[in-house]
Symmetry: C2
Subunit: 222 residues, 2 copies
């Protein structure tokens, strides 16, 4: 689902928004810069993503890089946009699905997200973003916006399964489910100690979440 082209490995997915003017060569340069930046971010972390190393990684001079991205903040923001956009197209695919039972759809979403978590890209990038979001309001807002979109399909499924819940209760439940899965990143993500337990964890999550949504009542919210 998410790995549309397994041919280009070590070149993670990005969704770069089209630019207005410019020549073809410029567009390529633009894209290869973002790709190199992402590669560095994934492979060596945010600290390694310096302007010079990004320039060297896509084999251009520093001065050229600053032509495309005058300031590093520009680069970071555009990279963040591109990365986040690449996830948002996944959620689109989730929403448009066949007509199966809401319980089954919930299970499928969980499986999808947990499989994505095992990806090197996701395992590496998101903790980095979480850390950045603690001190950078822009990153915080952008990442929370992404998660809000990720919760949307959960939300409507919960409403189907348990219509008695209020809007707030539904949203909190979706938040809990989403956060639960994100938490597994540090433990069962790519190259993590419990990576091989992920199949079991998927089963546990699927069962636990479905049961939780089904059986929770108003009174459980105090």
């Amino acid at each position: 689902m998410k790995q549309s082209s397994p041919a280009k490995f070590s070149v993670p997915d990005l969704l770069i928004r089209e630019r207005e003017g410019g020549y073809a060569r410029g567009r390529e340069g633009h894209e290869s810069i973002l790709r190199a930046a992402l590669h560095l971010l994934v492979e060596e972390g945010y600290r390694a993503m310096s302007m010079r190393r990004v320039a060297a990684a896509c084999d251009i001079k520093l001065g050229n890089l600053t032509y495309y991205f005058p300031t590093k903040e520009d680069l970071v923001r555009e990279l963040l946009d591109a990365v986040i956009s690449s996830y948002e197209v996944e959620f689109e695919a989730i929403i448009h699905e066949e007509d199966v039972s809401p319980e089954q759809r919930l299970e499928e979403i969980c499986t999808l997200i947990l499989e994505d978590i095992r990806t090197k890209k996701t395992t590496r990038i998101f903790p980095e973003l979480w850390a950045l979001s603690n001190h950078d309001p822009f990153v915080l807002e952008r990442i929370q916006e992404l998660y809000a979109r990720a919760r949307a399909p959960l939300n409507s499924i919960i409403a189907e399964i348990n219509p008695a819940l209020s809007v707030d209760q539904r949203e909190t439940l979706a938040l809990f489910i989403s956060a639960s899965m994100e938490g597994l990143t540090v433990f069962a993500g790519y190259d993590k100690p419990f990576e091989n337990r992920m199949p079991w964890l998927e089963r546990i999550a699927a069962k636990g979440f479905v049961q939780l949504v089904k059986t929770i009542r108003q009174s459980d919210f105090e």
Copy 2:
């Protein structure tokens, strides 16, 4: 529980292991350095925790700092030890508890952990450690060791509630529960968008986890 002395705010908890020789003044210096480093880490993130800023923060010269910690790695490792130790004493407190039902003990543990997550210290430090652990094997090992201790009480409680499960199944279940709660850091931790939803999330977690542990069967593990 965790805030033993609310008097000293902005001076988070640390458990510093005693040093061998040296004068009293040296021990004070040692401690104030670690405290300043932690303060910087919490308030401005790992990037701000440079040797010079740490030195400035505790009002000593850079050369003096390198006398205590010849290399930055030394400082980071000792800080990590001190931080992690401060959490481990909490777990000790959890293990030695009254004789109530295992279900209730599970709920209490969840409440305790989720309350700790709302702490500024925890919300700020752990994402930073998660990010570091992606590229620093030492940090990864140290933090996973901490979580292993955090899962121990969960593990024994699960065994009480559902003795039919195998050791591996129990451990995976404990892992899931622990990871679930950690995931809430990014969403409902200190200063996060859903900080005020934490009470509900605690209820959801408590109910969900207890029910999950009670009702899960061998067959659910495929």
